[in-house]
Subunit: 283 residues, 2 copies
């Protein structure tokens, strides 16, 4: 999925949020916004995550190359962990755990919509998926030997771990994997946050090598791709992974996300705010 | 008042709204957004209206140089005229007419906030100005021989006319003037819309010559500036005029507007949505 006109202003709005998050003085903020505008003027036929992977290091350079969302990522994990016991008490099946994982997908600093995790969990257990291929997924889960979640945002990863636990409890013979980004990009989960949370206790955490906030094969490491291609079943979390993978024609992949922008809403043909659990198409 | 970092993303968001308003195909829209981004990357220490005056003709060039808000301006006038009789029935003083005129200022396509004129009028007659120099203004009105409104948006001009009528009814000896932009810029009022509405029946309509959505003296015609300098009292409507005039140190000018963005909110020290009727400062 390539950048749309909407994505260009969205990227500049993200840059402004980064400047505010880092409490830059007005001169630095404006300078950063102009560097961002110049980059945005030149993005061709690439996916939004690939553009973001170019943009964010430029924003980070104004902060001595630091992870611009470090503090907010830490805060997201703290908030998610606070809600975990109450969410866990509602999870009685793999499908419930999938619902919890998609509710976690609301944690996102790259989209214009504010999030309230508590409200999100209250709603999500009563809401149907707008596109619902859970039956196909649960059927496959009965047969497979390996399964991977491609992670998305920090905070959300707390509920991805819950899903991995729910699967291993019911299907102890499935080998579980959790793929993370190769470096900090927006608020996406990297090795650091995955291991800090102890996801490595329930799955093999693997660095995809990608610097983009979505699994773009061209950027993934060879080792990762070899492992990834050997998987029997995959859940790709979040819009970034959807934007990179929607066209790969691979029925092993199920996209799990909340629709958080108009561009993706239009692409999937569902309303803003919809929950999607959709198998990647062959045709 | 110079461009802030926030203004840069605001300008790109405005460009996106223009693309949507003109129903461009995705390729044209993206191309236009990239031209806009490139311009935005280069705006130095200029006011937001001066930047907008550079940007909008570039956007208009994708529409064969047409007035990109022509249809929406026509619609604004139609909607404003529908509400006029009910607003008129509430106007019993010049101050009431000033309130009606500031309620009209909510009509704006350059700001992120949607507007509902009906609701706005219901609220405005019960709301106090956050900064209120109406006493000084009404006192001056007793003494002056000439008065000018510097217009802002189309639709809003319907209620500016109401204010001019209220003044001429009570002070028939004051010469009234209504200043408009020198060419179409965003949804600002030009000679065309002012004369179509018949503002020329109640005031002398004058073309300021400025191509910016705010009265920037550097862009005004000599004839206009000569007339303008001879005025005894001026109301500058809207944020664009405020952004250009806030620092000119001229106590003849009263700024009348609704605060519609964070940058101006911060500048005047009042909340988003506040109503402002503020005399220009000497110090």
């Amino acid at each position: 999925m390539n950048l749309k006109s909407d994505c260009l202003s969205c990227l500049l709005n993200q840059s402004l949020r980064v400047a505010k998050n880092l409490n830059f003085d007005e001169k630095t903020a404006k300078n950063m916004m102009q560097v961002a505008s110049e980059s945005i003027a030149n993005y061709g036929e690439v996916s939004p995550p690939v553009a973001a992977a170019d943009l964010y290091p430029k924003l980070a350079s104004f902060s001595d190359g630091n992870d611009v969302y470090k503090t907010l990522k830490e805060l997201s994990t703290v908030e998610a962990l606070k809600l975990l016991p109450s969410v866990e008490s509602k999870v009685h099946s793999v499908l419930d755990a999938i619902k919890a994982a998609v509710a976690g997908n609301v944690i996102d600093f790259a989209t214009p919509n504010h999030f309230d995790l508590n409200t999100e969990f209250e709603k999500v257990f009563e809401t149907s998926f707008a596109i619902d291929h859970s039956e196909e997924f649960l059927k496959k889960l009965e047969e497979v030997k390996s399964f991977m979640i491609i992670g998305d945002n920090v905070g959300e990863h707390v509920f991805d771990k819950l899903l991995l636990e729910a699967i291993t409890e019911r299907y102890p013979n499935i080998s579980l994997y959790y793929a993370v980004r190769g470096r900090p990009i927006i608020n996406d989960v990297t090795l650091l946050e995955a291991n800090e949370l102890g996801i490595d206790e329930v799955a093999t955490v693997v660095d995809s090598g990608v610097p983009t906030p979505g699994l773009d094969y061209d950027y993934a490491s060879e080792d990762f791709m070899k492992l990834y291609r050997s998987m029997d079943l995959v859940i790709a979390k979040g819009m970034g992974n959807y934007e990179c993978l929607e066209a790969v024609k691979d029925k092993r992949i199920f996209h799990l996300f909340k629709v958080k922008c108009d561009v993706v809403a239009h692409d999937v043909g569902e309303a803003l705010g919809s929950l999607i659990f959709m198998q990647n198409k062959l045709a």
